[in-house]
């Protein structure tokens, strides 16, 4: 039987978002509160998403140096 680690609640994706599991309220940099809407949410870490605070995949078109 293979060893299996329990699932993390927070997962930092190299070059991309932070995955957040479960229900949370995220306060953005302007103080606005956003409740998570899905079982797993992706929080933008690159600052360039058009759907902040959620990731919308924009990090993938940034030059690697500007990715989180």
């Amino acid at each position: 039987m293979t060893e299996v680690a329990p699932r993390p609640d927070v997962e930092l994706c190299p070059g991309g978002p932070m995955l957040l599991r479960g229900d949370h309220v995220v306060v953005d940099d302007e103080g606005v509160r956003h409740a998570t809407k899905r079982p797993v949410s992706a929080v933008c870490r690159c600052g360039k998403s058009a759907s902040k605070p959620w990731c919308d995949g924009t990090h993938k078109v940034l030059p690697p140096k500007l990715r989180p």
Binding site: T2, V4, R7, G16, P17, R38, D56, G57, T58, K60
Partner: protein, 316 residues
């Protein structure tokens, strides 16, 4: 449940005839060979559909009729052989760290870009009819893969699929969101009603996905396809939503695409990291098939996009 589509050649004539005659007449030996890609793709699409919702007036036992299963296997081998012969092979890329850039480097025409800036209302309706072949069974083909996966990849895929199915809320189920968007746009939301309009390039997108799901040995390709599909969705979905807004399409249809901007930014991470990479960790011999499935997803979309944009006279 839906009506059988129109045949496209001698093989589909024979198979559709056999389906109509069940259960009164037994399925005869089907000797016909596919006459064209359209004949092959339509026949395979119909045979796969027997494992989803089936067709009005067709005996549900047709799904396991040995002669039809044999024809399905023959057509799946033809499709897989065609894909494998065109596949350039495993790229020199690290799966975990290089996959997204590899996907981004796969060139091809973008239907979403055309919709965003210049498609007409008629073109979008045309596109929705073709996309409905997949979107009305969105996520379903991937369910077949779950029992074939080792424990970590299995749990992660279920987590992803749970979101595709609305996290238990039927009104949030993705294929249902698309059906509502179609109905609000004046289109028929029942599965399969527009199949007659779909060229083989569109049917083969569906056929490859069903084949990867139905055949356990192709589980690597199934999850690779999933990762590539999710990784090419967020930004195109944003463009689609903007184009639909520009053309005044109803909120329900726009909502299907805006949902995918955020959902697939999550799904692409889970699909790559927690499903594909986790599977390859347990079963390293499957890595080539993960790449093969991912490539097939991108390649089939390029072919479908060329065909669709070409038919509109739009630059591909």
């Amino acid at each position: 449940m839906t009506d059988l589509p129109k045949p496209r050649g001698p093989l589909s004539v024979a198979v559709l005839g056999a389906l109509r005659d069940l259960p009164t007449a037994p399925v005869p030996r089907i000797e016909e060979a596919p006459e064209s890609d359209d004949d092959a793709a339509l026949t395979l699409w119909v045979l796969h559909e027997l494992s989803y919702g089936g067709f009005d007036g067709v005996d549900e036992a047709a799904e396991s009729e040995p002669e039809l299963v044999r024809v399905r296997g023959m057509l799946e081998r033809r499709l897989e052989a065609d894909l494998r012969s065109r596949w350039p092979g495993v790229p020199d890329v690290d799966l975990a760290s290089g996959f997204f850039d590899w996907v981004a480097g796969h060139d091809g025409p973008s239907i979403a870009r055309h919709v965003q800036t210049s498609a007409t209302r008629e073109q979008v309706l045309d596109l929705m009819r073709m996309r409905s072949v997949y979107h009305l069974k969105e996520a379903d083909p991937t369910m077949w893969v779950i029992p074939r996966l080792p424990v970590s990849a299995k749990a992660a895929l279920v987590e992803l699929q749970y979101d595709e199915y609305g996290a238990g809320d039927p009104s949030r189920l993705h294929s249902h969101l698309f059906a509502q968007g179609m109905a609000a746009s004046g289109l028929r939301p029942e599965r399969g009603v527009y199949v007659d309009e779909a060229p083989f390039e569109v049917l083969d997108q569906n056929n490859a996905l069903s084949m990867f799901g139905l055949q356990g040995r192709l589980r690597g390709a199934a999850v690779g396809h999933l990762a590539a599909f999710e990784a090419t969705s967020s930004m195109p979905s944003r463009r689609m939503a903007q184009g639909l807004e520009r053309l005044g399409f109803p909120e329900e249809l726009i909502g299907y695409y805006t949902e995918h901007v955020e959902a697939d930014a999550v799904h692409e991470q889970v699909a790559l990291r927690d499903v594909c990479v986790a599977l390859v960790r347990e079963e390293p011999a499957l890595e080539p098939d993960v790449w093969f499935g991912a490539w097939a997803c991108l390649d089939l979309e390029v072919r479908a996009a060329r065909r669709i944009l070409g038919a509109w006279g739009a630059a591909a």
